[in-house]
Symmetry: C2
Subunit: 292 residues, 2 copies
Amino acid sequence: MPRNLDITALRSFTAVADEGKVTAAAARLNLTQSAVSMQLKRLEEALNQPLFDRSGRGIALTAEGELLLGYARRMIALNDEIWTRMTDEQFEGELTFGVPHDIVYPHVPVVLRRFAREFPRVKVTLNSTFTTALKSDLERGRADLILTTEKETPPGAEVLEQSQLVWIGALQGEAWKSRPLKLAYERACIFRPIVQSALDDAGIPWEMAVDSEMTRSVEATVSADLAIHSQIEAAVPPYFEVIDHGGALPSLSAIRINMYLADGPKRPMIERLATLVREAYGVSGGMKLAAE
Amino acid sequence: MPRNLDITALRSFTAVADEGKVTAAAARLNLTQSAVSMQLKRLEEALNQPLFDRSGRGIALTAEGELLLGYARRMIALNDEIWTRMTDEQFEGELTFGVPHDIVYPHVPVVLRRFAREFPRVKVTLNSTFTTALKSDLERGRADLILTTEKETPPGAEVLEQSQLVWIGALQGEAWKSRPLKLAYERACIFRPIVQSALDDAGIPWEMAVDSEMTRSVEATVSADLAIHSQIEAAVPPYFEVIDHGGALPSLSAIRINMYLADGPKRPMIERLATLVREAYGVSGGMKLAAE
DNA sequence: TCACTCCATCAGGATATCGGATCGTTTGAT
DNA sequence: ATCAAACGATCCGATATCCTGATGGAGTGA
C-alpha cells in the first residue's frame, strides 16, 4: 500500500473535479482519457475510498472526494510554490546592501543570515562605507538597499531607529581627560563635523590624532586609549565603552538610522530584505503587514 | 522537465538530511544505498540545483538544500495528514446527534452540512424528540451529543443560548383572543407544564385543543389558527409568528438551550461536532481555542 | 601507507504508466 | 421505441521508470 500521494494524479483529480468529465480534463492535461481514468482508479484504490459518483453521464465528486479536493489543491499549491522558489529566475540574482560600517553590528549579520536562508540563490554583497558614499551608490544604481546615519530623515527615507550619538573610548580609558582632546576619525566619517563643531562650541581644544581612511587604524588607536571616538548609542561594540564624562564633554546630537530602497525589477526581493531589517530593528512595517 | 515533486524522493531527502549519511538513511527507509543516491540525483536534476555538499565524509545540505528541507517537511506532513484523514479508522464511524425537534432550525442543518464536509466517512444520525427522551438516550449511550431546552443548566451541561419562551400562532392569527384559550402541544413537550401553570397563575381559562404525539398535528392546528403554541424566541419557524398580545397573555419564563457530550472513544469527533454547534450559536468555545 | 567507510554509477530486471482500441452504458433526439 | 452520440472503464502492447546488486573511486583515520 503506497503511503505517498502522486502529485500528477492529484492534478488529474482536480482537473476532473473541475470539468466534471474525464475526457475534457484529459484534453486540458494533454493526456489520454484512459490515462486519466487509470490515475483516478489508482487514487481510489490507494485511498480505498470512492472519490467519484459514476452514475449517469459525466462524473461527480462523492463526499470523500470533496474532502480530498480541498487537500489536493493545497498539495498542488505547495508543490508549485516549492517549484517556483527553487527554480524561478525571480528568486535568483545579486543584491547590494550598503551599511555604514559603524552600524553593521548588531543587526546586519542576523538579517543577512535570515535572508540567505530564505533566498539561498540570491547573493547579497555587503558594502560598508560611509553614509555619503552609500547615498551616491544608491542614486547611481550601485546599491539596492542602504542604511544611513543622518540627523534628519529626508523624503524617500524610512527611519529605523533614533538614537543618541555618544562618546566612546577604550574600556576604562582615560584618554577623554587629556587636553587638547585626542580624536580618531576616518576622513569621510559623517560624525566628524558634528563632533568638531560641538567641541568648538564648548570651547574644548582638540586635535585629530588619527586621520585615516582605514577603520582599523581608528579602532586600534581608540583601543590603545590614545584617542576617543563617537558612536551611535545603540551600536557600541563590546570592546569599547561609553565614556562617563559627567558633563566634561559636550552632549552630541541625536542621530537617526534611515533606510532607502532602490526601485526596479528586483524590488520584491529588496522589499523582503527591508522587512527583515525592520524586524531586526523592531519596527512594525505596518504597510507590509496590512497587505497580507 | 517534471513539474511535480515525488513525495518518496522528498522522504529520502529529509532522511538523508537528518542522518547526514546516505547509507544510514537508506537503512532507515528500507531501501538500498544506490536507490537513495539516485533519488537525490533525480531531485537535484529536476530542480537543477545542488542540494548537497559532497566534499568530505558524509553529505551535508547546501543553502538551497536547507530551503528545500523546510518545504519538504511541510509537504510530507500534508501528505500524511491527507492519508490519515482519508483512511484512518479514527475518522470513520457513526454519531448520534439528539436535538429537540423545535430547535432543529435554524442551526442544526448548517452544522450537519459542515460536519459532513469535514468528516465524510462519519455518518451522523439526527434524532429529534423531546428533551427528556434525549437525556435518557445520552445516559444509556444511545446518543453521543444532545441539545436540550431547559430552565436551568445542570452540572455537565453547557449553555448555548438563553432565550425567551414566547407565544406563537398562525400568521395574523386571532386564536389567542378566544376564551378558554385553545392550546396545541405534544404530550411530552417540556414547555407544556410551564405554559399551563403560567396560565393558571394569570387566571386565564384554557383547554387543550390538540393533545397529540405528533408534531404534524400540532403544526396543522396552529397553522389553521385553531390554537396557539409556544416556542423559543430564537427558533420561531417562518410560517408562524410571535403573538403580539400586549399583556393579555402571561409572560413565559426564559429557557436555555444546553448541550451535553457523551464520553468514550468517539470523544474527539464529538468535540469537533460540538465546536461546530458552538460556532453556529455564536459561542466562543474558549477552551478549545486556547488549546490550539 | 593501508584498510575502511562512504557515495556515485552501471547493468539487468521488475514494475508502473501511457497510448490506442474496444466495449458497455447513459442520454437525448427522432 | 429506437438509434446515434457521448462518455467512461478496461484490455493490450510498448515504453519508461525505478529498484537491486555489483563495481569503482575518493576521502579518512590508524
